[in-house]
């Protein structure tokens, strides 16, 4: 029975994958490490830029504000391969930043990923801040806060929504494959991430490592959600 063989094959792959994870296979570890490191740095950079940007856009009224928000919303739907191509044009040998030798490095992946998730962090922050009651602003000011302290008080009230944006952004970068492949080049031990490795192993017909990496990816997502729920519980106080 073909069907039975297929099931056996799936179960076999799954068990071997678990074994691979259990034995802390060095190749797998390096891949996971690279993925986590690159994604974490991208998320931190995007948060440091996106949260204040979102706060300013939400709070200030300026000409073209609606346009900025529309553009950001459009960028949410930007395919990773488009970003890959776009960044490639700048950092390839013939590009204007070609001299920095960025192509096929982790830095290149980070640049692409930051572009991918800055709109996510920014628009989520705008929404989170907009939902915060204006009385908080007045309260902080009248109690003697300066503008920066007032901003901190408001961001603190919006922390739940802002942390959600960071988690969504991290989830987006750790799961994306287009940017990592086009700008990282899937170099073993260097720019090979969970997703690019999975794509490669799949091409080779080697499903075990692929499945193992898939399990790790799901565990990372699960871990993030557990953390988020814990934070959500804390935030209620």
């Amino acid at each position: 029975m073909v069907n039975n063989n297929f099931m056996d094959f799936l179960i076999d792959s799954f068990l071997s994958a678990l074994l691979l994870i259990w034995s802390m296979d060095p190749e797998l570890l390096v891949i996971v490490q690279v993925s986590l490191k690159v994604s974490a740095i991208s998320t931190i950079i995007a948060s440091v830029a996106g949260i204040p940007a979102g706060f300013l856009i939400a709070f200030r009224s300026f000409r073209g504000k609606r346009l900025v928000i529309t553009v950001l919303n459009t960028l949410l739907a930007m395919p990773t391969v488009v970003i890959g191509l776009f960044v490639y044009a700048f950092i390839s040998r013939r590009g204007i930043f070609g001299a920095f030798d960025l192509l096929y490095t982790q830095k290149a992946i980070i640049i692409g990923q930051v572009i991918l998730i800055i709109p996510i962090v920014t628009t989520f922050t705008i929404t989170a801040i907009n939902r915060i009651d204006d009385r908080y602003r007045k309260t902080a000011l009248t109690l003697g806060a300066n503008l920066f302290q007032t901003a901190v008080a408001i961001i603190r009230e919006a922390r739940f929504g802002i942390v959600a944006s960071i988690i969504v952004a991290f989830g987006r970068v750790i799961a994306e494959v287009g940017i990592s492949m086009m700008l990282g080049g899937n170099a073993k031990g260097f720019t090979r991430t969970i997703t690019t490795a999975m794509a490669l192993e799949y091409d080779k017909g080697e499903f075990v490592l692929s499945v193992a990496l898939g399990i790790v990816l799901l565990m990372v997502s699960f871990g993030m959600n557990v953390f988020f729920n814990y934070f959500q519980g804390k935030a209620r106080v």
């Binding site: 009385r135 007045k138 309260t139 009248t142 003697g144």
Partner: protein, 335 residues
């Protein structure tokens, strides 16, 4: 002089909410700002708290001219604190909420602990120290907000309708706290209310605000309606409730009127002849107000009438009785 305001104007969406010629407020007093909804009370408080910038006009605070543009408002804001009509507390414990202004002022930790406990005691919230601020009732939230304001050690506390949204028990508590902070700590208190009785009970001085302007007396019995002219050329003001009042005015179209409670005449059912602007009504409430009696008469709309006590005694009126109420033309103000 605490505040001096001149030609103050504030417009929201082309609606002038505040248009004050001059207003001087004295130090160390409890001042009541009395007016109906939409009189500009909240806007005036927010300007006095240096949170809202007036469109034009000048403000002097303690004889110093306030500059709303130079970014030095924080020094002034640290002397004045506003408690909003429905105060909002930060998403944390009661203790940390009261501690917040002290942290902003870089008060040492030990001192903060002491002051917060003291203040929570003053407002009677000491047993809620570690409670989550968002689980408090409206009245409790208000009391914590007062403690939070006191933590600023301000010279002035501005309170927007301090008792409008709390129950009677909390009302009494808040009124007691207002008196205490004024008498014991010498803090000037300026509060708004639309409750005349509260204003006269609490305030050393009451300022009447109506349609963004200072009024000589309080405007009561305020209703919206429109002007109609009948076939004889007589002008009537028809209120939204359907009540028709004979008026003399140059105005046309939509208007607002105020009927002076002291200029209306109340009489027994049988004694009064029906003339212009005399209505049949039911006496539904009587309140003692120093040398006056306030009677609430339902003539389709509730009208508040003030009658001198001796006159009231001679009228022999009882609650629930049918009465006649006449509103002479001169009792009606049209805006």
């Amino acid at each position: 002089m605490l505040y001096e305001l001149k030609n103050l104007k504030k417009t929201y969406d082309q609606r002038t909410v505040l248009n004050l010629e001059t207003l001087k407020l004295e130090k160390n007093k409890v001042l009541g700002l009395l007016g109906p909804n939409g009189a500009g009370k909240t806007t005036l408080l927010e300007i006095m708290a240096f949170l809202t910038r007036p469109d034009s006009g000048d403000i002097w605070f303690e004889k110093e001219r306030v500059n709303f543009t130079n970014g030095k408002l924080i020094d002034l804001r640290r002397k004045v604190v506003l408690i909003q009509q429905q105060p909002i507390l930060f998403t944390t414990t009661v203790f940390k909420n009261v501690e917040y202004p002290l942290k902003l002022r870089e008060t040492p930790r030990a001192e903060r602990m002491k002051v917060v406990k003291e203040l929570l005691k003053i407002v009677g919230m000491e047993m809620f120290e570690q409670a989550s601020a968002h689980n408090l009732s409206g009245g409790e939230t208000h009391r914590v907000a007062i403690a939070q304001a006191l933590a600023c050690s301000p010279e002035v506390i501005l309170m927007d309708e301090p008792t409008a949204s709390v129950d009677v028990e909390n009302q009494i508590n808040i009124e007691r706290i207002i008196k205490e902070i004024n008498q014991k700590k010498g803090i000037s208190v300026i509060f708004t209310t639309h409750n005349m009785i509260q204003a006269s009970r609490l305030a050393d001085e009451t300022i009447f605000l109506f349609e963004g302007k200072i009024a000589q007396s309080v405007y009561e019995n305020i209703f919206s309606g429109h002007i109609e002219v009948d076939s004889n050329g007589y002008k009537y003001c028809v209120l939204h409730s359907g009540l028709k009042l004979r008026v003399s005015s140059q105005k046309t179209g939509l208007i607002r009127i105020s009927i002076d409670p002291k200029a209306m005449r109340l009489s027994q059912k049988k004694s009064a002849p029906f003339t212009n602007n005399t209505f049949k009504g039911t006496l539904i409430q009587l309140t003692d107000e120093q040398s006056w009696v306030r009677a609430l008469v339902d003539v389709g709309i509730p009208l508040s009438v003030l009658i001198p006590k001796d006159v009231f005694k001679s009228l022999h009126l009882y609650l629930g009785e049918e009465v006649r109420l006449s509103c002479p033309k001169e009792s009606i103000d049209i805006f």
